[in-house]
Subunit: 267 residues, 2 copies
């Protein structure tokens, strides 16, 4: 089974899509076979690669609703070793459509299972909510990365997110783990950010040794620093490695990727 | 009828809540009677005032689902002249619960109508989606402000947002208008931001004189500059005027409020 990670935070605009694209691209540049799945009706992941879906292009909506549709039918090649399954705006209707299906939370897991042999890593870009699309991601993921800014309002959403993962771990996916908080748009010089990081670490420290999915969670290293080049790259349909390979943003995602390859024991 | 504005952008983390709170607080400091409504299950508006709802506190969920519940039953006084209706996490279930009701999009409009005499301005803080809660806001609003960062990915969501407002203007609320784009977390020195503003203005210019709800829309002046004090204030349950009244963020929201009082011809 490929290492499967959900990038999830119901707080909006925290860096989920930017991290999915650039972490995925960094892992692919280090030789891993990577699949990205866009689960957000805004289709920002697809836009990041400059892809507007042609009418006959199959998307994640077909994958979830059409029993005959397989991952291989939807996959697009973005870069060497980097594939993705695009989303469409109509994905927003899927919550209602899936609700009629038996076992609607496990549809994505069953579909991805067929493609396990083709990939080493799968990254799931979640929408800014904890609805059925995000639950589908949690049902198939081995681990969760929580992209967030070290600000107060995003911090407050963390409890609710952890509760949702806990619920999924008690039924749909007992082995899911929250491995880390991925700090994005980070400004290391800000005392507010340092205070929020202190609060995150003390919240996590309370659960060491307790039987919860986030007992081993920590703030991932390095933080991804704020860097306008990361916001510019998608307007050219490029990853940060195509657009500005020497900028701090590229460095941060490269170092994160190397840390993960080491931690997962990948070749 | 009070001037009713929806702060809406389905793109997450663009400054909707920060603008609702601080624009509302600025208008109240200039003597207007202001009501803020938190329509986001994340309840960031309520958190911004340091309010965690007590179990017996009525919230916007009661307002939408309980026919007997009135605005006056839910309102909390935040500052002199500044009231708000809090949200709760269970608001996320409202989409399913409202769906059974006849005329589910107009529930908020009918409830707010009773309180029209008490307020000069009503600001609606929307969740990062275009579902039934946001449609309820569009059904009662006179105008829409679109908070956004001058980045590429948020720009791409604008078309979809305008389409949704258009749909509402063709049935539920023919008089709704998109008055402006409220630039938040703005970095005036960035050439990327200037390029995106140019793109917004040229997209809007194409519709001058055309019969669409955004034919008169423009980028609002001033932009709200990026300023860490705006992100710090909510951790103390304060508006920017309590926390750092002389900072650039306070100046920007004061100037926006004065411009609106002038434009709306308020006392
Ligand atoms: N490290 C960074 N430095 C500067 N800008 C960034 C950085 N990371 C992301 N951005 C920009 O911030 C905005 C939000 O990022 P992104 O879209 O990745 O967040 P998201 O969590 O996926 O949002 P949503 O909740 O809407 O899906 C985008 O305009 C993006 O280009
Ligand atoms: N001008 C600004 N300068 C610096 N930080 C800001 C500014 N405006 C907002 N923020 C911070 O950016 C983050 C996102 O802002 P906010 O929560 O207001 O956005 P939102 O659009 O309401 O998000 P959501 O889509 O989750 O409801 C918050 O941490 C907030 O404190
Ligand atoms: Mg995203
Ligand atoms: Mg908000």
């Amino acid at each position: 089974k490929p290492r499967t990670v959900a990038l999830l935070n119901q707080k909006g605009g925290v860096g989920k899509t930017t991290s999915t694209v650039n972490l995925g691209a960094a892992l692919a540049r280090y030789g891993q076979r990577v699949l990205l799945v866009d689960l957000d009706p805004q289709s920002n992941l697809s836009l990041h690669f400059g892809v507007e879906c042609a009418p006959e292009q199959r998307t994640v909506r077909d994958l979830l609703l059409d029993p005959e549709c397989r991952v291989q039918d939807c996959v697009q090649r973005a870069r060497p070793g980097l594939d993705f399954v695009p989303a469409v705006t109509e994905l927003a209707l899927v919550e209602g459509e899936l609700a009629q299906l038996e076992g609607m939370q496990a549809v994505l897991r069953d579909k991805l299972r067929e493609a396990w042999g083709d990939y080493d890593v799968v990254l799931l870009d979640c929408p800014p909510s904890l609805g059925v699309l995000s639950v589908n991601a949690l049902t198939v993921a081995d681990e969760v990365f929580v992209p967030m800014q070290a600000h107060y309002l995003p911090l407050r959403g963390l409890e609710k997110l952890l509760q949702t993962v806990h619920l999924v771990s008690q039924g749909l996916n007992p082995s899911i783990r929250v491995s880390g908080i991925l700090l994005c748009m980070h400004d290391g010089s800000s005392s507010h950010a340092r205070a929020v990081i202190g609060e995150i670490e003390s919240q996590l420290a309370q659960f060491r040794g307790v039987d919860v999915p986030w007992s081993g969670a920590a703030v991932l290293d390095p933080a991804v620093r704020r860097n306008i080049k990361l916001a510019e790259a998608p307007s050219f349909g490029k990853t940060i490695f195509d657009y500005a390979p020497q900028c701090p943003g590229a460095d941060d995602y490269r170092r994160l990727a190397l840390g993960l390859i080491d931690r997962w024991g990948l070749p």
